[in-house]
């Protein structure tokens, strides 16, 4: 089947360029966000083209020269871009081989390629790809029909190739933040406290005095920026600005609204999936009803680096440099707000800190673009402050999950209902959507977007992984897509899967204990998929699951399983911990099956990172709000897991070379959260249903 991204970008030369220095430039629309994708894609290209890795140069995220592959999200880069690059490279190799056969007057079966050089019957010919590249019309469309290399012939795919980007990052300049073009102008912004807030007065003179050096104040409607050659002066100005600004009409948030429980009574779009509603108990539905409510609060991406962007407006062309996840969509959104045609905008990706979803990157890009349009010919470097990122990033939504299960005579679930309350999980900027922050501050802000969620066939948003992967005769989802959350929400690693798996896997433990069975055995009895069974059994064996005691004495061992989106990578996690006044993680073991593995160490790295981030969200994190907005504006009020709290982590990946590659970035996160919840319940003998499982919650639970 032809990869979809080849149909969207139907020219060879969008993907491949044979360069004069005997390298091949391979372009992708996916970008490096710390997950190692550039290295993995270069392995796929080098493999199919029979090149060495040093002969492959990746161009990632460039609207002028590379393909449009939308966003780097949802663990799809290897499945989407990897499939397209594999097909394009296999076909380019076939085209060049045909030329070589003619030129060398030999049969195709006599030819082979080594590092881009043709061999006839194993003997070198002196002829290379680069000698023939000009004979091929690369403007043609790939058919997607060339047969790629057989997996047993792989020499580069499947190897733990070290990341290309790491040495620079360990020695100095490496990020967009580190680029200071000649004559660069630094900029900071003063944010509208919330949508609809109107700037009544701004004491510019006082702000300039505070800055202590020459700065300019740019103001358009409710958008304010401080610009100047001296970065510390614009930083000082931005820090001083809030006390010299008067706003009216700022929203007022009541602290109740920061809790997931608040969602239950809010206006919502009602969505239903799965089996018909359970009628009055009859027939199969006779049986005990087990119910419980679980929740997660709003959580943050909390990238280590506040967002940054550079912009230059020159000769009626806007160039933007950004660490966002999709350069083509960003270009379309910018075009819409600044009133330029897309052709007059170039968007280029540069490395930023890990983002884990939709953070402030795109908003910072618009901020920089607006300033650049007013200062033609100057490079603008716009940097958010720490409090900007914590205050204005789009958050991972709070979720409230009610699970109701009918249990049959054998103690097995016969009917499963997940009722979910959640604001939208994806509000990436779309043209006209109004979800780029600065657009809301301008004259004629775009209309408020009616929220939507990703469709079920793409894994859903609030519903993601709410349907059990276990063998259960009837299951249904009732999703209340809450339309009026107190803060902007958008894509955060796993979307709704973390709260849903936390709830689902807690319920599985509950059902096992009612049935008087071991949680592992109980799950296996409902899991026909061999790959699912294999990860669970392997994780249990590695973590010595069978030694698990009765619990209730402060030490806990908990287990959880999930197949991401119910269609992607499998992961099982076992957590060992103890609880006194708070939870102390001791050891976490994760085993995943991600199909064909491109880079085993890269996969383990992603699994380990997913474990830590999942643990941090589960144990520590909640966005605090009051008054006009977010009040957890620094790392003290928004703590994350620290070095002293990191457990020993064992990550293993079962290689399945015969199976297609499945994205790996998200699969470990949700089962980690659930396994921690189950281990805490095992340790305490009582379950905590609401995240975070913080010291305060533990104390409340122990005292009641």
């Amino acid at each position: 089947m032809k990869p979809a991204n080849l149909t969207i970008n139907p020219r060879f030369d969008t993907w491949l360029k044979f360069q004069a220095d005997e390298t091949v430039r391979v372009a992708t629309g996916k970008v490096e966000i710390g997950q190692g994708v550039v290295t993995a894609l270069s392995q796929i290209a080098a493999e199919e083209l029979d090149l060495s890795l040093s002969q492959v140069v990746i161009l990632a995220g460039d609207t002028d020269q590379g393909p449009n592959e939308r966003y780097t999200s949802s663990s799809l880069s290897i499945m989407d871009s990897g499939a397209a690059i594999r097909a394009v490279c296999a076909e380019a190799r076939a085209l060049l081989l045909r030329r070589a056969a003619l030129r060398l007057n030999c049969g195709g079966e006599q030819l082979s390629v080594e590092e881009g050089a043709f061999l006839v019957d194993g003997a070198s010919t002196g002829l290379t790809y680069w000698d023939l590249a000009n004979d091929v019309d690369w403007s043609q469309a790939p058919t997607g029909e060339a047969i790629p290399k057989a997996t047993q012939d792989y020499r580069i795919v499947g190897q733990s190739i070290p990341r290309h980007d790491l040495p620079e990052k360990l020695t100095g300049r490496a990020f967009i933040h580190d680029w200071l073009p000649d004559g660069v102008v630094h900029a900071r912004v003063l944010r509208q406290p919330g949508r609809g807030a109107v700037l009544q007065s701004l004491d510019e003179a006082a702000i300039k005095r505070a800055a202590g050096a020459d700065i300019e104040v740019l103001r358009e409607a409710n958008f304010v920026a401080f610009v100047g050659a001296d970065e510390s002066a614009v930083e000082t100005a931005a820090a001083a600005a809030p006390e010299h600004a008067q706003w009216s009409g700022a929203p007022q948030i009541n602290p109740d609204q920061q809790e997931a429980a608040w969602l239950r009574d809010q206006p919502a779009i009602e969505r239903k999936f799965g089996a018909e509603d359970a009628a009055a108990p009859q027939g199969d539905l006779v049986g005990e009803l087990v119910q419980a409510t679980f929740s997660r609060p709003y959580v943050a991406h909390a990238s280590m680096a506040p967002s940054c962007a550079l912009a230059l407006f020159e000769d009626a062309h806007l160039t933007i440099w950004s660490h966002g996840q999709g350069m083509h969509p960003l270009r379309a959104n910018l075009a819409n707000v600044v009133g330029l045609p897309e052709a007059a905008i170039t968007a280029r990706h540069m490395n930023g800190a890990g983002c884990y979803g939709h953070n402030g990157a795109d908003d910072a890009a618009l901020d920089a673009a607006l300033i650049a349009m007013r200062m033609p010919g100057r490079h603008i470097r716009l940097q958010w402050r720490r409090e900007d990122e914590f205050g204005f990033e789009p958050f991972g939504p709070a979720m409230l999950v009610d699970i109701s299960v009918r249990v049959d005579d054998a103690g097995r679930p016969s009917d499963w209902t997940a009722e979910i309350w959640s604001p939208t999980h994806v509000q990436r900027p779309l043209p006209d959507s109004g979800s780029l922050l600065a657009a809301e501050a301008l004259e004629n802000p775009p209309p408020v977007q009616i929220p939507d969620d990703p469709p079920e066939e793409r894994g859903g948003g609030g519903t993601r992984n709410a349907k059990p992967y276990y063998d259960i005769p009837n299951s249904r989802i009732h999703h209340h897509l809450v339309t009026t959350p107190p803060v902007r929400t958008s894509a955060l690693r796993t979307l709704g899967a973390l709260p849903n798996v936390f709830a689902l896997e807690a319920m599985m433990d509950e059902l096992a204990s009612r049935a008087g069975e071991d949680p592992l055995d109980y799950r296996l009895s409902l899991l026909p998929d061999q790959r699912a069974r294999a990860v669970l059994e392997e994780a249990a064996a590695r973590a010595d699951w069978r030694s698990r005691g009765a619990g209730g004495e402060g030490r806990g061992l908990g287990l959880a399983f999930s197949r991401y989106k119910n269609t992607a990578a499998y992961a099982a996690v076992v957590v060992a911990l103890h609880v006194d006044e708070e939870v102390h993680l001791e050891k976490i073991c994760v085993v995943a099956d991600t199909g064909l593995v491109i880079n085993p160490d890269g996969v383990r790295n992603q699994l380990e990172g997913g474990v830590v981030q999942g643990a941090s969200w589960t144990l520590k994190e909640q966005v605090q709000m009051q008054g006009p907005g977010v009040t957890s504006l620094d790392w003290d009020s928004y703590p994350i897991l620290r070095f002293s709290e990191i457990p020993e982590i064992e990550a293993e990946v079962l290689d399945r070379p015969e199976e297609p590659s499945l994205g790996v970035g998200e699969c470990a996160v949700s089962p980690t959260a659930a396994a921690i919840g189950n281990a805490v319940a095992h340790a305490l003998g009582v379950r905590i249903h609401h995240m975070p499982l913080s010291r305060q919650r533990i104390m409340e639970t122990l005292l009641t």
Partner: protein, 160 residues
Amino acid sequence: MPETYKLTINGVAREVVAGAALPLIYVLRNELGLMGTRYGCGLEQCGSCMVLIDGEPSYACTRAMDSMAGRDVRTVEGMGTVAAPHPLQQAFIDEQAGQCGYCLSGILISAMALLERNPDPSRAHITAALDGHLCRCGAHERIIRAIGRAAAVMRGEERP
């Protein structure tokens, strides 16, 4: 009023003109082009900006220039280069310790200070030395391993 400060940066004597209250991070990055000292919070809470001042790990984001006269500053650029990395940098590459990498240069600085004090640190010593650092990507386990490995190499017990 700007003043002239004499200090040593990565072994080289420097004179810089700066305001008394200017945080060191701006001098390193914007005047001297030493971009490995990174801004993460400006609040002494994340460790992205860590440098050694007279051998002590210190936050460059808040350290005012008027306390810097005569000091010895070391940044990640003074440790090694891509072509000739410090054993710690090499160990981070060998362990592939990092994802986005934003936190790493500050962590390398604290790790270097640790190994200069304690050539054979336990896991607990390492995590204690790094507790002023945050890593949002969750590369902790590898970072801890890499520091242990660098220590062994620097003691001559393990081949680089």
